[in-house]
């Protein structure tokens, strides 16, 4: 039994460890080179006698990813929170609440490229100049984050015991105050989990950005300009024959992996905290 358990753990861990190993061994040299986090990619180059290749950096992709996540979070988190609060705290079994809940479910099944296509088509009608920008890319990513934030917030709110809501009602505390300052606070670690997971999901998306943010290896020139992202850089550089660009792609993959890993671990910790906190009543 112990052997079997050990084997299972190994099977589960093996892909994760081999990906990490691959990323570190192929991307490591680029990551530790100077200006990796701030510079722009160097000219394409493959080592041959008498030539040493520069790596340059992925500064525009890191900045771009941060900008995209900022736009996406600013849109998706407040809307997702509001939707979940409405569904759980105010909706009851009203048709509107069920409709929003169902919409979140459907949205979570929308392929990410379709989210990008939708934003592309939408902005093409409105303002073609802004199609390729951090705003547009962030908006597309927000579509992918929204159902995750809504669903996990919904679940976090549902784990808050109803007895706590009743206690607040019986004290004559106004509904909105008890929702914001008692229920939401109690659910906060669970909500944080969802937010972090959704950010991790958005950080790794490339498809919706191909049609929107577009990519820009020169630098981050503003939210209304074509913007790069880590997955876009990987998408563009990984198929290239140049050794230094390949290393940059793996370096970007390593950074992305670490980002997602940190976000997942943080969300796990937040969830544990929530479970501990709500235990011990009664």
């Amino acid at each position: 039994m112990t052997v079997l358990t050990g084997l299972t753990i190994l099977i589960v861990l093996a892909p994760l460890l081999s990906i990490l190993y691959q990323a570190i061994s192929l991307g490591g040299p680029a990551v530790v080179s100077p200006h990796f986090f701030t510079g722009v990619p160097a000219y394409p180059c493959s080592p041959r006698p008498g030539v040493t290749c520069q790596y340059g950096g992925i500064g525009p992709s890191i900045e771009g990813t941060l900008a995209l996540l900022l736009v996406a979070s600013t849109i998706a988190i407040p809307i997702g929170l509001a939707a979940a609060i409405y569904i759980v705290e105010y909706g009851g079994d009203r048709p509107a609440a069920r409709a929003i809940s169902a919409a979140a479910d459907i949205l979570s099944g929308v392929p990410s490229i379709v989210a990008g296509l939708f934003i592309f088509a939408l902005l093409e009608q409105e303002d073609p100049l802004i199609i390729h920008s951090a705003y547009a890319g962030g908006l597309a990513l927000a579509f992918l984050m929204l159902p995750i934030v809504t669903r996990t917030t919904e679940e976090a709110l549902r784990t808050v015991p109803n007895a706590m809501r009743e206690a607040a009602i019986a004290l004559g505390i106004a509904r909105w105050k008890s929702t914001l300052r008692i229920t939401l606070i109690a659910a906060l670690p669970g909500i944080l989990t969802g937010v972090l997971l959704s950010v991790a999901r958005a950080a790794g998306e490339s498809a919706p950005l191909l049609l929107t943010a577009f990519g820009n290896l020169q630098g981050f020139y503003g939210f209304d300009q074509p913007t790069d992202a880590l997955p876009l850089l990987i998408f563009r550089f990984a198929p290239q024959p140049y050794t230094n660009w390949l290393s940059l792609a793996w370096g970007a993959a390593l950074i992305l992996l670490l980002l997602v890993l940190i976000l997942s671990v943080a969300s796990r910790l937040a969830l544990d905290r929530m479970e501990r906190r709500l235990r011990g009543v009664g």
């Binding site: 706590m164 008692i182 906190r277 011990g280």
Partner: protein, 249 residues
């Protein structure tokens, strides 16, 4: 005049009526017990008295509940609930708050009070709930660090801090051990000097011990309402007699 009374009170959860045409008077500075077998509607009845019943989807109330002669169903429910405190079956402290913040909750959320004022109310409420001596050195520890019995007294302190006129208790001891139960019963004796206390219990001995008057509810209808001693020793109705002598329930 009675502090509180119900006039032809009926309630439902959407299907059939759970309580029907109940008319009762509750005297100030005394304890009234509502007894009856499980499912007779006693919890529903007490939840109609502070308009908690209507917070359940599809629940409906008809009839009147008078507080000092005015129908609470014509008033703002949150204002009504500040005058009528409630303690629930299971202790339900705010899990994310400290002991102090739990007691201070009604003051913090319902208007502005100075720190000194809040301190004073917290002290008096915890003393009134016979919990002060046990928690005075750990006021800023989480409420969940207390035992079940202490949590229930904390909930009583929290209700008292809102300075209500009526205190509703819905089987406040059903989740507690005998020692904690005895403490809460002692507490009820003290509370009736200042409040109109209404307690729901499935425990007849408890009703006999703490209540001045007792109402017997069966299948949603009021069967008998009398002085507790009278009711237990000389019940007028056959059904009451059968119940208090333990032949059913």
């Amino acid at each position: 005049m009675a502090k509180m009374s119900t006039v032809g009170l009926s309630a439902t959860y959407g299907s059939g009526p759970v309580i029907q045409e109940v008319s009762l008077d509750f005297q100030d500075r005394s304890v009234t017990a509502i007894i009856g077998p499980s499912g007779c509607g006693k919890s529903t009845l007490i939840r109609c008295l502070n308009r908690m019943h209507e917070t359940v989807p599809k629940a409906r109330v008809t009839g009147q509940v008078l507080l000092d002669g005015n129908n609470i169903y014509d008033q703002d429910p949150t204002q009504v609930r500040r005058r009528i405190g409630m303690v629930f079956q299971r202790p339900n402290p705010f899990a994310t708050m400290t002991i102090y913040d739990n007691v201070a909750a009604s003051l913090r959320f319902n208007g502005r009070h100075s720190r000194a004022q809040t301190d004073d109310v917290v002290l008096k409420s915890l003393q009134a709930a016979a919990l002060w001596d046990e928690v005075k050195d750990k006021l800023f520890k989480p409420a969940t660090s207390l035992s079940g019995g202490q949590q229930q007294r904390l909930c009583i302190a929290r209700a008292l801090a809102a300075q209500p006129e009526v205190l509703l208790m819905d089987e406040p001891c059903s989740a507690l051990d005998p020692i904690s139960t005895a403490k809460i019963e002692d507490l009820i004796f003290g509370l009736k000097r200042e409040y109109c206390v209404i307690i729901v219990t499935h425990n007849m001995q408890q009703a006999a011990r703490v209540a001045d008057r007792t109402a017997f509810l069966y299948l949603g209808k009021l069967v008998e309402y009398n002085d507790t001693k009278e009711m237990f020793e000389r019940p007028k109705e056959k059904l009451t007699e059968a119940y208090v002598s333990g032949r059913f329930g």
